[in-house]
Amino acid sequence: MSQRAQLASATPVTVREVVEAGRLTVRGPLGPLRTDDREAVNRAIGRVGLAERAGAPLRTLSGGMQQRAFIARALAAEPALLALDEPTTGVDAASQESLAALLAELRSELGVTILYVSHEFGAVEHVVSRLVLVRGRIAFDGDPADLPALWHDPPTHTPSALSRVVTPETNPGTPSSRAGGTAPPRSGAWRDKEAGREAADRQT
């Protein structure tokens, strides 16, 4: 599901209409929505905190709120897995914080697994249960708490710096970075097919 409005800016569309489109997966494209579809749409809108703006045109909402509307569209299909690709691009810091809170809530209350792909994971770091760093190969895979302290230092806290630090063949690095290199998986249970992304944090 796209997380951005791809519409011509002239197109008037309400939050509810966007979220209703999410029921396509469940109801198919023919005929009107039924009562249970409408209930699922209302739940999804309420879940992301847009109940009072459901009838508002999407273009009158802030970037963060528009993003919530698109998350509600994904939720309307009542998914088991929510995949978010670079969801914080172009979203201000405050909205990133509330996005992290929302995702944590979705995980604990709906039990939905969230695959969160991003170049920066600052805002969601404290709600991530499994972190996979990828640069060509898996550079780190485990609990974010086990991430070497070096990586939290501001000067190196960029994706490219991270990759240099953890990839011995591209950067001989300092002894400390070598020591902090690839963290071994904590257990076999961490292995799965979804790890082969650019940089993937996974919440379960």
């Binding site: 599901m1 796209s2 791809q6 519409l7 197109t11 997966t25 494209p29 045109p57």
Partner: protein, 265 residues
């Protein structure tokens, strides 16, 4: 004026056209395919010419040509490796070139052709009315059934495909609906102006609407008023109906633009 049989027929057809054209145009405009109707109109011109040459109903051949043109545009756009506007250009110019060659061959560069190009209130027959009611009814029913799927494609074509919707079929359905609208509307609006009636009411409605549903409702209302008022003005002013109707639709855009700040306040 309604005591005249031909005016009653024109108004009956006008009601269907006034509602159907903006309703179909809505999906074209929202998908940035505003000019597809125009391309199909030009293909319909070739169809009229073919009808002359074969000595059968030009409305029927125009309808067939427009439907074939709709499939061609959709095929070129989705699988032919051409961008949307290039696909349109191919079909558009082939249509008008074929049309002028066939018309000249049939030796019919005359006033009768002019009526097909720009519309006439005198030419609607009882048989036309039945065809318009049947095809118009089917088209409106199709829009009602497909509305949710079509809106999903408008909002996010890629996402709808991922969600398992038959996006190719839905796109083809819109193209065929546009072709049917051209065929239905050509008698009174004319094939060179029908596209305007599909697009202008929607653009005007967008300036005032707050949702997709309100855009659609407002656009059909503007289309209906434009057609009925246009026919009336054309009757009393002895003007070509197609041009009058489209000028009124264009005026609705100006009115909507003026009213827009008032709505926000």
């Amino acid at each position: 004026m309604l005591e005249l049989e031909f005016m009653r027929l024109a108004f009956a057809v006008g009601i269907v056209v006034g509602i159907l054209a903006p309703a179909v145009g809505f999906f074209l405009v929202e998908r940035r395919q505003s000019l597809v109707g125009d391309g199909l109109g030009h293909v319909a011109f070739a169809g009229v010419a073919a009808g002359y040459l074969l000595g059968i109903s030009p409305v029927l051949t125009a309808l067939c040509f427009a439907v074939v043109g709709a499939f061609a545009i959709e095929w070129l756009r989705s699988r032919g490796g051409t961008a949307g506007d290039q696909a349109l250009a191919l079909v558009f110019y082939t249509g008008i070139a074929l049309g002028i060659v066939l018309v000249s061959r049939a030796d019919r560069l005359d006033a009768g052709l002019f009526q097909f190009l720009f519309g006439s209130i005198l030419t609607v027959t009882r048989e036309d009315l039945w065809v318009v009611l049947a095809l118009g009814g089917v088209s409106l029913a199709a829009i009602a059934v497909l509305y949710r799927g079509l809106v999903a494609v408008v909002l996010d074509e890629e996402g709808s495909r991922v969600a398992g919707a038959p996006v190719g079929l839905l796109n083809t359905a819109v193209a065929v609906l546009a072709a049917l609208t051209v065929g239905i509307s050509m008698r009174i609006v004319g094939i060179l102006l029908i596209a305007a009636l599909m697009v202008l009411p929607v653009i005007a409605a967008q300036r005032l609407a707050w949702s997709l549903r309100s855009t659609l409702a407002l656009a059909t209302a503007i289309g209906l008023v434009s057609v009925l008022a246009g026919l009336t003005v054309a009757y009393y002013g002895d003007l070509p109906p197609g041009g009058t109707i489209v000028l009124l639709a264009a005026a609705s855009f100006v009115v909507a633009t003026v009213l827009r700040p008032l709505r926000r306040a």
